[in-house]
Structure formats: C-alpha cells, structure tokens
Amino acid sequence: EDKVVQSPLSLVVHEGDTVTLNCSYEVTNFRSLLWYKQEKKAPTFLFMLTSSGIEKKSGRLSSILDKKELFSILNITATQTGDSAVYLCAATPRDNYGQNFVFGPGTRLSVLP
C-alpha cells in the first residue's frame, strides 16, 4: 500500500531558528513529491520535486529529493512567526489524472517570537 510518512509530527522553535522537515514515501511507480503549506485553511503549493539531488529554493525555503533513499526534506532558515503552519508532503505516481496523490499527516510547525 502506498504511504507517506512525515517527521516530526510537531515542532516548536523560536524565531531565527533553522528547521528541517522530513518526508519519506513508498509509492508505486513514483513520479513527483510535492510540499504544501497549510495555515488556517487551504494548503498552498510550495514545491514539486521530480529529480533527485536538485534543490528547489524559494526565499528562506528549500527542498531536495532523494529518489534512491525515498525521502525529501524541507528546510526553512531564519524562521519567522509567519512560518507557523502545517507542512504537508504528498507523493504522486505516474498516472493520467492525479487521483493517486498520497498525502502525509503533516508536520505542525510553531514558531515562537
């Protein structure tokens, strides 16, 4: 059965800290791994990773995929209170319709001032 595991499930840090969120996956015929940030409502798309070893970066956020070891990390440097959210990881196989997105349970990040 396809599954995605995230760790830690919950994390509390102070502003300015650097955090690393982990996502491991087991998905048949894997194609891509996606990261989302969910604050109070809808998840917002952060990154999609398809190739191993290529870092994607957006401001203080960066992510990388290791297809050999079947995991991805999301790094946030110099955290701010606005980074507080649940970070979701999803793996998707090669398919036509995207119906097989498998989401992890999320990591709840709390950044204290």
């Binding site: 891509s32 996606l34 998840p43 999609m48 995207g98 119906q99 997105f101």
Partner: protein, 112 residues
C-alpha cells in the same frame, strides 16, 4: 490567473440532514477536479475525482456522492449526514499539463 471557490466556508448540520457543497474554478478549461476530506490532525483523504463533465470516480465507499454538471463546477452531496462526516472538505483542481494540485479555501463541516 486561475482561482477556485468553495462555499459555504463553514456549515453546521444535524445528523440525518442533506448536504451540498459547491466548488467552482475560474480561469482554466477542462481541469481535473478533486474532493478531499481532512479530519482533525490527519492527512488528506481523497474522496472523489473527475476528469470531465459527468465523469466521477469514487475512491472511498461512503454515504457521500459527487457530481460535475459543468466543466468548472464540482458538487459534493449527501442525502443523510453521519457524525463521522464532520471534517474539513477541500476541493482541488489540476490542469491537464501540470502535476500540481491547487486547493480551494475549504468548507468546515460539523455534524451535530
């Protein structure tokens, strides 16, 4: 640019009552559309997806149903709600060329 709308934003319904949640997408044609449910503290569970008008695939057997009467409209329904139907319902779309799914603002449903 594309936008996705959902309504209502919150809903409190008694057990046994019917349900209708609506999702519409603007700025794209022929999207793939999805309904997810997120229970408190848990991941997203795919309920239905649709690749076109009138085409619905169900991922989880339950007392919910979905319909797609127009290209950019996706409706989630129930004839009789159960307590276990409480949760956060998210609609998402995906374009034909991309793999990312984009989510609507969600509807928080509480069944009492």
């Amino acid at each position: 640019s594309q936008t996705i709308h959902q309504w209502p934003a919150t809903l409190v319904q008694p057990v046994g009552s019917p349900l209708s949640l609506e999702c519409t997408v603007e700025g794209t044609s022929n999207p793939n559309l999805y309904w997810y449910r997120q229970a408190a503290g848990r991941g997203l569970q795919l309920l239905f997806y649709s690749v076109g008008i009138g085409q619905i695939s169900s991922e989880v057997p339950q007392n919910l149903s979905a319909s797609r009467p127009q290209d950019r409209q996706f409706i989630l329904s129930s004839k009789k709600l159960l307590l276990s139907d409480s949760g956060f319902y998210l609609c998402a779309w995906r374009g034909r060329l991309g793999y990312e799914q984009y989510f609507g603002p969600g509807t928080r449903l509480t069944v009492t």
